[in-house]
Amino acid sequence: MDSRRRLRLERRRLLRAPKGCVLVISKKKRYRLRGRLWVLGLVPFAVMVLAFQLAPVWSMLSGSFRSDADSRWTWHNYYTALNSPFYLKAIENSLLISAYSSLIGIVVGLVCAYSVTRFAPTVRDRILMLSNMTSNFAGVPLAFAYIILLGSNGVFTLLFREWGWNVFDGFDLYSWTGLTLVYVYFQVPLSLLLLYPSFYGIREQWKEAASMLGASSWQFWRSIGVPILAPAIFGTLGILFANAMGAYATAYALVGGNYNLLAIRIGSIVSGDVTNQPNLGSALAVLLACTTLLAVSLNAWMTKRSARYLTGAAKAPPRKGFVRQRGTGVALAEAKEGTG
């Protein structure tokens, strides 16, 4: 036995064998042990996730049950959050704006996603690249861009005034309609990127089969297309909703704290110059996380459901050349779709 191997065995014995046990490690066991070394590859990942994902969540969670005054265990923060009309209003506003903006985002995204699949992959990928790029245009600059366009002296506001159109008269960018409008701007590209791959799941032959059975295009979409897309639609809705619930920078840049949103409340509690109630902030953050978690689980659940349809479809041979056609656009969408 060479010394290195002996060392290795020795080490193993120390690690595994109970005290006083005679060292008999069969070859098979050794192979299995060696086979488990892959666990090492997961260690850095586990450490990072633990430190920067789970620990903060845990600290927040436990903090939310402690009093801001004397750090004793208490339900008080949740009591405050859920009984104060102030915070309840914030929750309500957040939910409403998120719901509206993600619904609009879904509808627009759905139409655009269908349309984009009608183009050749190269054109499609270019469109997707662009929309992906603009989806990074958020926060302060986005809010300001909308002020330039639709603020009280915005380009369109003035134009419409000049042309005498009064459709926009009642419009105020700094109200909830304005906020929803700005949210929609970052929801649309996301929705497009998440939805368009599922249109490739609607196989051309289904349309053909339906048309031969006497269905018009509209009937096909109503009876086959949309039901098949439904899981993808609801799943994406979940992601969009979570996305809107968590949006902070854009809203804050537009209306500051004047519009009562949950994310803004949390931000002002944590980083404002005025109050210092970190544990109440944690409780609010936990409430926010609960809604997004719910939305994201909806997504996960729906993805599983759509997998059901897809396995059915997967039995059929893949469309020729489809794998080759997977351009960067597909990769982008796959990467965006955190749930696989």
């Binding site: 053909e208 048309s211 031969m212 059975l213 006497g214 059915g312 039995k315």
Partner: protein, 348 residues
């Protein structure tokens, strides 16, 4: 022939590529005609033109005396079954079958009854409420068949309906489809690239190559008398020989063709110890050869033999009679001149 479906010089191009170069075909009512040809020869495209899923570039398609040109797929009363089944995954088997009737606005009860009839026809009554992804491939295929039959189409188009299935299921479905077709007397066009499938199922076989039908006839005709080298090679393990080779083997030849074909099973093998006289006769010939290799394919045994400088493939029934014949052995071949086919030039 009393034409039920008529194709008159049907042409189709995709961009620069001519895919159908003038296809003529007459199909009688209740007939099952197979389109057989290598991949890419335009079989699917032809079916899609008939169904109205692709637009013709030239020619006419007439069904029961009515020109189908300009009609939308759903006005053509044509049913189609796809290679990939194309069942609607969000509907149960029963709902899939009912779909066509629902689109026609038939009553729920009527639909239900008809669907049950058809499920019975394909022997899947118990799967009515099952979703397609819980069905096996063969069951899916049968549902697809039932679905296209539900609307009582005038013409059924089957585009390689079996190619995605396992060999075993495939064989069973073959006879099932054929028997349903015969029972309903449904005029059917069947696309395949499997010659066994074509031979076993059809009333008539059309061999397609490069966008035209190069030969048509009953399965026997097609198998026994391929007209061109393409057909001969495509139909099985025909021995195709040049004229000099054929001359060496048969001594003298009829006709003046450049190439000849010999079916592998038309040659009899005779062991060296056997008496060859039993095989002699008019138009018969005995030639000596050497066995290159033997392989048992199951029912038949395939011999590679060299005789008179010509490499031949010879099939014999695996009935134990020729057990002694192994590699490197000398054998006698009994040839029948009447079985030698003259082949036409390609495209002639």
């Amino acid at each position: 022939m009393n034409s039920y479906l008529e194709l008159q010089s049907v042409r189709k191009r995709f961009g620069n590529a001519a895919v159908l170069n003038g296809v003529h075909l007459d199909v009688a009512e209740g007939e099952l005609v197979t389109l057989l040809g290598p991949s890419g020869c335009g079989k699917s495209t032809l079916l899609r033109c008939i169904a109205g899923l692709a637009v013709l570039d030239g020619g006419r398609i007439v069904l029961q005396g009515r020109d189908l040109g300009g009609l939308a797929p759903r006005e053509r009363q044509v049913g189609m079954v796809f290679q990939s089944f194309a069942l609607f995954p969000n509907l149960t088997a029963g709902e899939n079958v009912e779909y066509g009737l629902r689109m026609r606005g038939e009553s729920k009860r009527g639909r239900r009854r008809r669907a049950e009839e058809l499920l019975a026809l394909v022997d899947l009554e118990d799967k009515r409420d099952v979703y397609p992804h819980h069905l096996s491939g063969g069951q899916q295929q049968r549902i697809a068949l039932a679905r296209s039959l539900a609307v009582q189409p005038k013409l059924l188009l089957l585009d390689e309906p079996l190619s995605a299935l396992d060999a075993q299921i495939r064989k069973n479905l073959r006879s099932e489809i054929r028997s349903i077709q015969q029972r309903l007397n449904m005029t059917t066009l069947f696309v395949t690239h499997d010659q066994e499938e074509a031979l076993t199922m059809s009333d008539r076989v059309c061999i397609m190559n490069k966008g035209v039908i190069v030969q048509e006839g009953t399965p026997e005709q097609i198998y026994m008398t391929p007209r061109t080298e393409f057909a001969a090679r495509f139909m099985g393990s025909y021995n195709v020989m040049t004229r000099p080779e054929a001359l060496r083997l048969f001594g003298s030849l009829e006709g003046s063709s450049d190439s000849y074909a010999l079916r592998p099973e038309s040659v009899k093998l005779i062991g060296m110890e056997e008496d060859p006289s039993g095989h002699a006769g008019r138009g018969k010939r005995i030639v000596d050869g050497t066995v290159d290799s033997v392989s048992v394919l199951g029912t038949i045994v395939r011999y590679s033999i060299e005789a008179a400088g010509v490499k031949l493939t010879i099939d014999a029934l695996n009935d134990g009679r020729l057990i002694g014949i192994g590699e490197r052995r000398n054998v006698r071949l009994a040839l029948d001149c009447s079985q030698l086919l003259q082949l036409e030039k390609e495209g002639a």
